[in-house]
Amino acid sequence: MAKNQTVKFKNKPVIIGSYSIVGPKEGEGNFGEFFDYVMKSDSFGEKTYEKAERKMIQHAVVGAIEKAKIKPSDVDLFLSGDLLNQIISSSYAARDFNFAYLGLFGACSTMAESLAVGASLVDGKLFDHVVCSTSSHFSTAERQFRFPLELGNQRPPTSQWTVTGAGACVLAPKGKGPRITMATFGRVVDYGINDVNDMGAAMAPAAMDTLLAHFRDSNTTPDDYDLIVTGDLGKLGSEILIDLMEDQGIKLGLNYNDCGQMYFTRKQATLSGGSGCGCSATVFNSFIMKKLRDGSYKRVLFAPTGALLSTTATQQGDTIPGICHAIVVEGVKEED
């Protein structure tokens, strides 16, 4: 028997404020007009890109707190994660805040992971205000996982472009804003893909696993959602997911899309699309939040995926494990 992986929240925690910050290339992408802040350069006035990524998280967290109209001293807990070794962007960013801090790692699924954990804690009335945040940076990810920036190599057509961006949002037990009603915690799934340039194919089975678990546990179908959105499967990965789901007898229709696939314009030549924690985090905290607030979307299933690989394991010949966490956010029209 399949175990229940889905939590249904009784008190339905509210996202009272959200904020997104992106790099210049992302600002020119398809979601450009929705972001709260577009940086003028990738280095954000810092000496190194790692420091820039840290500053981006801090900027996003402060922005989210301001938009939630609470004081920094009201924040009880800060949940954050990123792609770098020892999640330095998050932990080092947390150094300058006076919050309790939990570092999370779910690779590119971290936004949903932090929201699922945060919502559980708020729903259980253990904390009042929880800030959830993640970030990724093209230049820091590239140098950790791939090649130096200036190396004159060609990227294979399945490769994706790590989004430079950070997103943050504030959860509270009550207030105005979209509510998190369910969360499905994913299992680690590995279908034996070992090509590090093909993350979409490595993560698609994880997305399938979590979506199946979600539909099973919550007794819903894809038609119950206005939008089902994965994080960074990219063009190839999202096609694979549609095929995989079809094999399982579930049709993902026009209400399904992928943040990575939508992120950049065709001219920006990012091949298979965007990726990274920042990809789903910035879309969620800008576009999706806005559409939930103005009532265009009533119910969104947000299911970003993450590839839990390390370069060491890959070089030792290991295959790439994937994970996917899903949350359901319901919009309440802001008039009351």
Binding site: K47, T48, R143, F147, P148, L149, E150, L151, G152, N153, Q154, R155, P156, P157, T158, D190, Y191, G192, I193, D198, A201, P205, L236, E239, I240, D243, T319
Partner: protein
């Protein structure tokens, strides 16, 4: 066992699904860019020979290589070489300019971690294997030459 079969089937499915790179346009671009780099080298060599007619040919070649290495390194530094590489592929990787790029780019990238542990250590992360294999190959070829 079941998992193994499932993974195999999935890998085959993905392989069929992956968009293919078209080899001919890529080959054409690398061919002509590679050719241009070689002509440039020959041009530099001819100019050196013209300017210093008494120079030994061997010495002129050395200066040509130095000039090409400098040029590629410089273009890497100002952020142009990766763009050429993106377009030309093997055409700009195979000549000595590609080798220069593969040493300069990590050096640039890791200079923030300090001169010794950053730049000097990481400088050869990409070029290192090429040097090692090059030396081993030349030893083997030398041994073969010795006994023939």
């Amino acid at each position: 066992m079941d998992d193994k079969k499932r993974n195999e089937a999935y890998n085959n499915y993905v392989k069929a699904k992956i968009p293919k790179t078209r080899p001919w346009p890529s080959l054409f671009n690398s061919f002509w860019i590679g050719g241009v780099i070689c002509c440039l080298g020959q041009g530099i060599n001819d100019l050196i020979m013209l300017a210093f007619p008494n120079m030994a040919e061997q010495t002129a070649w050395t200066y040509t290589l130095v000039a090409l290495i400098f040029l590629a390194s410089f273009l890497t530094g100002i952020g142009v070489y990766d763009r050429i590489g993106k377009f030309a592929g093997g055409g700009s990787i195979v000549p000595i300019t590609g080798f220069s790029n593969s040493i300069t780019s990590p050096a640039l990238e890791f200079k923030n971690e300090g001169i010794i542990y950053g730049m000097c250590v990481k400088m050869f992360t990409i070029a290192g294997p090429v040097i090692v294999i090059g030396i081993i190959a030349s030893i083997l070829v030398g041994l073969v030459y010795l006994f023939i």
